[in-house]
Amino acid sequence: MKKDSMLYVVIFTFAVCAAFVVVLAVANEVTKPMVEANKLFATRSAVLGALGIPYANAADASARYDAQVKELAGAVGKAWTSSIDGVEYIAVEAAGPGLWGTIRVILAASPDGERVRGIRVVAQNETPGLGGRIEEPWFLGQFEGERAPGGRVAVKAGAEASGKADADKENGRVDGISGATRTSQSFEAIVNAGLAALKAGGVR
């Protein structure tokens, strides 16, 4: 068969595509359980982190999740509940627009939404080094145990780039990120929407 004949071109292209696609499909199938496990671990570790339950590794995280966290049925969106030292907390997934893309967080708080337990960022595309710092412990740490009067936390301008944080847990405000005002504002909106959803969805 001539190499430039129509038939050869069609058969060759089809065969090459089929061969490569089969290999990719096999690779995808083989790694599927691992990818699923990674996704599950990402969510579970974020829930545990937000609820303030420490874990050593992936296996430990899975065990603690099964033992201490219950998925909340009947809630709007995903929600989890856990009682830690006899106090009950509710965690919800909250999302909203950031500067560049959607920011997704897991937010844990008391069932009335008046005191934040903790927050973990699941996904964000903010500017690295500026808005991207919402993932850093100094920033998220400010929310841990923060009082939220009327179910609101204010993210205020004023922190310096050195990573100083608002240490007062009773004033219902945390320091925003210098140079990332828009991301800080978005984060405030997401957290407050999350607290409202938590208060509404947590009622049984």
């Binding site: 430039d4 071109v9 060759f12 490569f20 990719l24 995808n28 790694t31 990818v35 080094g129 500026l130």
Partner: protein, 214 residues
């Protein structure tokens, strides 16, 4: 003969015909990923992997490819390796995969891959094409890593995420943003081109003086 050719390819890809500062290819990824050393390393390793293997594959099957669908086949082979890489990263390095986000998939559109397939793998033996793809990737990697060192050091005060600069060091926000890569790439080009021009001029004078002695 084979050895000297391999050396010539190496020298070409790393220096005299470097993909970044001479061919000016793959600039988008240079702007996007170089503010973080570990991301840069994974990304450039990915490009090296994909370029080397797609060059090898395309060169091995070059006798079978009809000219009409040459480019389609090239893209199919490149996409194959890049998607394979993406699948492997998602399974074994989920954190890296999450950080790199869409950039891994975008390796397919990296002009270096297409450039090597068109300019080299089409006309050379598989092993030499593999070597050409590998060294092209290394040429790309060396420049990107150098830029990433400067950007991460000044932008975050860290190297591979480890704090290097003193606490009092005020980070340069511009180094985190894409424009700084423009300045740095331009400076690398300036430096390399000046140096290469000087060598050419020096070689020309030696030849001229030899001729004069005759």
């Amino acid at each position: 003969m084979m050895k000297s050719k391999a050396y010539a390819v190496l020298k070409d890809n790393l220096w005299t015909n470097n993909p970044i500062f001479i061919q000016i290819l793959g600039i988008c990824s240079t702007l996007a990923v170089t503010n973080n050393l570990s991301n840069t390393m994974i990304m450039t390793l990915g490009v090296t992997f994909a370029t080397a293997l797609s060059s090898l594959t395309l060169s091995a099957m070059k006798g079978l490819i009809p000219r009409k669908v040459r480019m389609i086949i090239q893209v199919v082979v490149m996409s194959f390796y890049v998607i394979l890489l993406d699948i492997l990263l998602r399974a074994y390095l989920p954190d890296v995969s999450r950080q790199l986000g869409p950039y891994v998939g975008l390796i397919i559109t990296n002009c270096i891959l297409m450039g090597r397939a068109e300019a080299f793998a089409q006309a050379n033996k598989p092993l030499l094409s593999f070597w050409d793809g590998l060294t092209s990737g290394l040429g790309y990697m060396s420049v990107l890593m150098a830029i990433a060192v400067v950007r991460e050091l000044l932008g975050f005060g860290t190297l591979f995420g480890i704090r290097v600069m003193p606490e009092a060091f005020v980070t340069w926000t511009i180094m985190i943003m894409a424009p700084s890569a423009f300045f740095l790439v331009a400076m690398v080009m300036w430096w390399a081109k000046t140096l290469q021009a000087r060598r050419v001029a020096a070689a020309a004078t030696t030849v001229a003086s030899k001729e004069a002695k005759k």
